[in-house]
């Protein structure tokens, strides 16, 4: 038992953490929330580490370790609301006889994620009425629902009775302006997913729309946000302070997320991987095991999860966010120097 306590205590000294106790959340006694530390860029670079945990075209998880919460939060906020993306902004409705109203239809179209890389486009000037090939993408959507001539007998399924009764995002057609056709390909600018249902129709209903997509940022409208989610959480840590065996070990296992606590061949519980625990504090319900654990989170270990909407890969989105903050500082400095 003493062996457990010593190793647990020495572990607690290493990193700043918040303790999740039964009735409160508490800082370590010697932890003043980074407030007294003097700023030193050298110290920052020495402590700061990045670990990439998983990454593909749509989703990414990485750790920022040894960073101030203010910076982590700034990067998160930038990804959500200041990294640009392309989205449909104006819809000219030539004909709409479907049951979905013009404004609702326009809004639905705006929310369709486009594959177009915003880094290849410029912001459109506020007062411009005509878009150019550098700041605008034009699409059209022209669909008419009709009766299916070659009907299968006795079938009442709409897909057998009608043609074009479902309008999908894959039916949106791109119309290159100027030199665009030689610079971009249709699959690189159109909707990310072809199976997004836009509207349902019946014979006689018709859509004839002209769509204009521009570059924008998430703080203007959420449709311009390049991420589905961008969030961080602190790394959980679970420390067992004494031996837990037998039925108590089983009970302990059920108190945490699956895979967090495992039981070895001697029936002893051990912490296998605390990373994906949800920090529920369910252990404190059971008097027989609540003294056996110390729950905490590491205060300067941020686990970022970035989920892209499809235009840019998540690592590019994070890089862009950092660049935006850097350029902001640069611009402001320049302005202050000319003051």
């Amino acid at each position: 038992m003493s062996k457990y306590n010593i190793s647990a205590m020495s572990k607690l000294e290493e990193k700043p953490r918040v303790f999740l106790e039964e009735f409160r959340v508490k800082n370590a006694p010697n932890d003043y929330g980074f407030a007294d530390e003097k700023w030193s860029f050298k110290k920052f670079t020495k402590k700061f580490r990045i670990i990439i945990v998983r990454m593909n075209d749509f989703e990414m998880e990485f750790d920022l370790i040894g960073i101030q919460p203010a910076f982590a939060n700034a990067f998160r906020r930038l990804m959500l609301s200041e990294v640009p993306s392309m989205a449909i902004e104006k819809v000219a409705i030539r004909n709409n006889t479907s049951i979905i109203q013009d404004e609702v239809l326009a809004h639905r179209l705006g929310l369709i994620p486009l594959k177009a890389d915003p880094r290849l486009f410029e912001y459109r000037a506020k007062d411009s009425t005509e878009g150019t090939e550098f700041d605008t993408l034009e699409f059209s959507l022209k669909v008419k629902c009709t009766n299916n001539k070659t009907q299968i007998k006795d079938s009442y399924r709409p897909e057998d009775l009608y043609e074009n009764h479902c309008v999908y995002s894959s039916q949106i057609k791109w119309h290159p302006i100027g030199n665009q056709a030689s610079v971009h390909k249709e699959i690189d600018v159109g909707p990310v997913h072809g199976d997004i249902l836009i509207s349902k129709m019946r014979p006689g209903h018709e859509l004839d729309l002209h769509l204009v997509a521009v570059k924008g940022i998430g703080s203007d409208h959420a449709k311009f946000s390049p991420v589905a989610t961008a969030s961080y959480r602190l790394l959980p840590e679970i420390i067992l302070t004494r031996e837990v065996t037998g039925s108590d070990a089983k009970l302990l296992q059920t108190c945490f997320s699956p895979g967090v606590i495992d039981i070895d061949s001697n029936g002893r519980a051990f912490v296998k991987d605390a990373r994906y625990d949800v920090c529920s504090r369910n252990v404190y319900k059971y008097d027989e095991i609540k003294d056996a654990v110390v729950l905490s989170r590491i205060r300067d270990h941020f686990i970022f999860t970035v989920e892209s909407v499809g235009a840019m890969s998540p690592d590019v989105i994070f890089s862009e966010a950092v660049k935006i903050l850097r350029d902001k500082c640069k611009c402001l400095l320049e302005e202050l120097n000319t003051l």
């Binding site: 860029f41 990439i52 203010a70 910076f71 939060n73 906020r77 690592d315 302005e335």
Partner: protein
Amino acid sequence: MKISELPGDEDSGLTNRTYVFQNESHTLGNALKCIISRYEDVVFCGYTVPHPAESKMHFRIQAKGTPALDILKRGLKDLEKVCDHTLELFEKEVKAFQKS
């Protein structure tokens, strides 16, 4: 102009100032405050977004000896350095991850 000075500090020397940032919010405000409040010669540093409907951020600096403007410049420079370092490290890690 993105930055202006709030009047009212004319009598207290150059060390106390409130700057108004147009089109900025908590993103820049908190990150900058985090750096500047840790400087040796800064007595007080804080920021506020006076009204959520106006995209303005007020940034207050009170210092001993050093002019507030110099401190603001130093803070922006340091934040820029932090960004550069983060970017460099992140891109290095991404490359290493893609190789493995």
